[in-house]
Structures are given as C-alpha cells and as structure tokens.
Symmetry: D2
Subunit: 143 residues, 4 copies
C-alpha cells in the first residue's frame, strides 16, 4: 500500500485524510469537494445552533421564519454533506440534484438570516455559513 501523508486531524484535516485514503477517485476536483463537504457540515451545525439561539431569544415569535428555514437548511445540508462524503459508485445525476436543492435552501435561509443580522449576531454568523455553502454548492455544480 502506498503511504499517504495525512494531516494533523481536526474536522477539516480528517475530511481531507478520508478523501485521500479512499480507494475510489472523486469525480469532482478534490479541493472543491473538500471545501463543499466542509461547507455543508459547517452550515448544518450553524443552522441547528441558530434555530436554538432564536428560540432562546426574548421574543422567538418574531423569528419563526428564521427558525423554520434553519431547521430545513440543517436537514438538507446534513444530507448533502454525507452524500458528498461518499465516493463509491457515485450516481452523478443524484448527487447534482441534491447539491442543487441544497444551494436553493441555503440561499433562502441566508436571505432570512440576513434580515436579522444587525440585531442578532448568531443570525449574521449563520447567514455567513449559509452563503459559503450556497457558493460552494454552485461551484461544484459549475465544475
């Protein structure tokens, strides 16, 4: 077995190590794929956290649209992150359909979070994670 140089670990390091030690070859450019897997898990975590932070604010009733989109966005980003983490017997059509849906939801969630960004810093951070994921998904689709 050819020796593979691995990173020092942590989330991003391990994603990279897993890609480099996989027996299959990624269909997409490896750097793009790495970025998009990270962006999906990043956005999923931020959305779970933002929904919870919104619920913890004094008047969550004003944030229902944000909470709802956060929850939906977390679910789709989680699925997209896992699907892109698989390289074996990839069905290009399937993966692209998921990534396209993910980009759509991330854009909507970002837009909603941006409306509250000046009032709630967690919405500002979450919008940033959503935009990064949207951009990354679109780059993968354009590749």
């Amino acid at each position: 077995m050819a020796q593979v140089t691995t990173t020092n670990g942590g989330f991003l390091g391990h994603v990279q190590d897993m890609l480099n030690t996989h027996p299959g070859k990624p269909t997409y450019d490896r750097a793009l794929l790495l970025e998009c897997i990270e962006a999906c898990f990043d956005c999923a975590q931020a959305c779970v956290s933002c929904a919870d932070a919104c619920i913890g604010e004094r008047d969550p009733a004003k944030l229902t649209a944000c909470i709802r989109l956060n929850n939906d966005c977390a679910d789709i980003c989680e699925a997209t992150g896992k699907i892109q983490s698989r390289q074996t017997a990839l069905d290009r059509n399937v993966v692209r359909a998921v990534i396209a849906a993910c980009a759509t939801i991330c854009a909507s969630c970002a837009e909603e979070c941006e409306r509250h960004a000046s009032q709630f810093e967690h919405c500002r951070v979450c919008a940033e994670a959503c935009r990064a994921c949207e951009r990354s998904c679109k780059k993968v689709l354009a590749a």
Copy 2:
C-alpha cells in the same frame, strides 16, 4: 380549544394526529401530505435496511451501486420527511426543491434495486418503497 378526534396511534396514526392538531394549516392537501410524509419515512427506513441487508449478502461487492444509492436515498428521504412534517412559516420554493430532489433520487434507487429484485427480496421490497415515495413526491409537486 376545539376538541380534535385523534387516531389509535402507531406511526401513521400519529402523523395524522400531529397534522390535525398543528396550529397552522398545511399548504398542501392534507391527505397528500400525510401520504408523502409516510412515504418518505417508509423509504428512509427501507433504504437503511436494504443497504444493511446487501452488506450481509455473500457477495456485497456485486451490490456496491445498490448500497450507495440506498444510503443516499435514505439521507434525502429522511430530510424530506422531516421538512414536510413542518407547517410553520413554510417556504414553498424550498420545500418544492427538496421534494423534487427526493423524487429524482427515489427513482434512481428504485431502478437499481429493481435490477436485483428477482435475486434479493429485500431489494424488491425496497424498490417498492422507493417507487411509492417517488410517486407521492410527484403528486405533491403536481398539486
């Protein structure tokens, strides 16, 4: 509070009860929505189980495409089932994008499972669950 008549429980009964006791009104026809939520969780479970059954067969190497699609399909059906379970502050565009992606993946997974249906009964059952979910998603999109 108006009394709501509830079912005798179980998966399908509780999905129905939750829809009927929700403070919001579903955007889609309630019967269609109920059917589609059930179909998504049904397909997610069948795909998790089929991937595992394939791995337990004597020669899983012949079933890699099936295992891969099962895993992806489970992830997207789970997300779609959860997203359709929410009625508050629904973003129609977001929900439709997810359901459309779900229909695409279910069709691909069904096709792959159907190839092995005569040899592996779990693939035949899983294909059935995937086709039911595909049909249900398409009905919701057409509504």
Copy 3:
C-alpha cells in the same frame, strides 16, 4: 430462494417485509424489534412536528423547554430507529447503549410534553408517541 410472503406495504408493512427478507437473523425477538423500529420513527416524526407546532403557537417563548426536548428526542429516535433497522454484524453492547439513551430522552420529552397536554393537543399526541417509544425501548432492553 425461499419465497417470503410480504405485506401490503405502507410504513409498518415495509418495515416488517424488510425484517423478513433480510439475510441475517435479528438478535431480538422479531415482533419486539418491529414494534421498536416503528416506535422510534413514529416518535422522531412526532417530535419534529411538535417542535414546529410549538414554534407556530402564539407564545412560543413559554414552550422553549418543550421545543428543545422535542429536537433532541427527534435526533436520538432517528438514530435509534436506523440503528435497529440494521441486522448485519450487530454489536449488542452498542445497540443497547443507544436504546437505553433513547429511553431516557423519550421519558424526559414525554414528561415535558405532558405538562402542556391539556393546553396543546399536539403536545398530548407527542407525549403519547414518546411514551410508546420509551416503553418499547425498555421492553427491548429487558428481552
């Protein structure tokens, strides 16, 4: 291949068909396992729906503990339902640890939902699903 008689489908029918067509033998009693897989997916769906219904109520700030427990309970029930759907190369210790944690969370979520059951019917239904899942997990652990 021995012919297996299958059900008429739907969520519960397919869970049963998948169990019956799996190449492995379930470690637990098949009827118990079927009941517990259904209870886990049922409770996951009810909790996702109840969290969303709570957010849609006039004063969600009063329901933060319920929303939080619903979200946590949905996550653990989903994981437990998927883990119990797998029969290949089962690690008894692992599966039992997950089921035990699931019973704990279901009990806490049920207790919280029961506090609001007289005011919110969705909390009453959700508590019912949580209690059913708690009981079913405990039955599997005692088997």
Copy 4:
C-alpha cells in the same frame, strides 16, 4: 448589543462564533464544548466516509463489522453533535445520556477500525477520529 469578535469562519470558526453569539450560556466549559461538537461532526463525517470506502474495497465482505459500526457511529455522532450545538433550556440528564452512549459507540468503532488500520489507511484515519470523539465525550462527562 455588545459587539462580539468573530473568527474567520470555516467549520471550527463558525462553531465557535455560534457558541459566542448564543443568547444562552453553555452549561459546560466553552472550550470543552467546542472541542466536543467538532469531534462529533468530525467522527460522523469520517464514519460515513469510512463505511463508503470499505464498500469500495475489493473484498467488502471482510469488512462487514467495520461498515456496520461505522454506520451506527455516524448516526449517534451526528445526533450528539446536534444536541450539543443547542444551549437553550438544556436538560443535563438527557445530554449526558446521549454523550455517554456516544462515547461507548465511538470506542467500539475505533477498536474495530484499528483492526484494519495497517491494511486500510481510511480505517486508520477513522479510528483516529473515533478515539478523539470518545476522549472528548469522556472529558465532557468528567467536567
């Protein structure tokens, strides 16, 4: 609103930013919590990827125990990562039960992956992610 200094983003940066901008105070030490949230998502991703890599190897039939544990470990780590990402109305008993189960599964999955670590580099990397998550969960439980 007090200005919060935020990071340059990326997965770990955003997890930290979300913790720092949350209206609630984390029950656990913030550095420990940050480490454990990262470790859970890291381990979930590594396990999804390792299961898929195992299926892509020439003889996946020899890796069924590894694939099974990878799948279970991914599910529980995902749930644990999301649950720890929430700070509102935390039920300490619930969170601890989940983290304890997560530590158990991570240990079992690490042990299995370590058996194949000299032959499959992806198993070596995955074992590393599992051990890191096990350690981090135990540190949170001991805090």
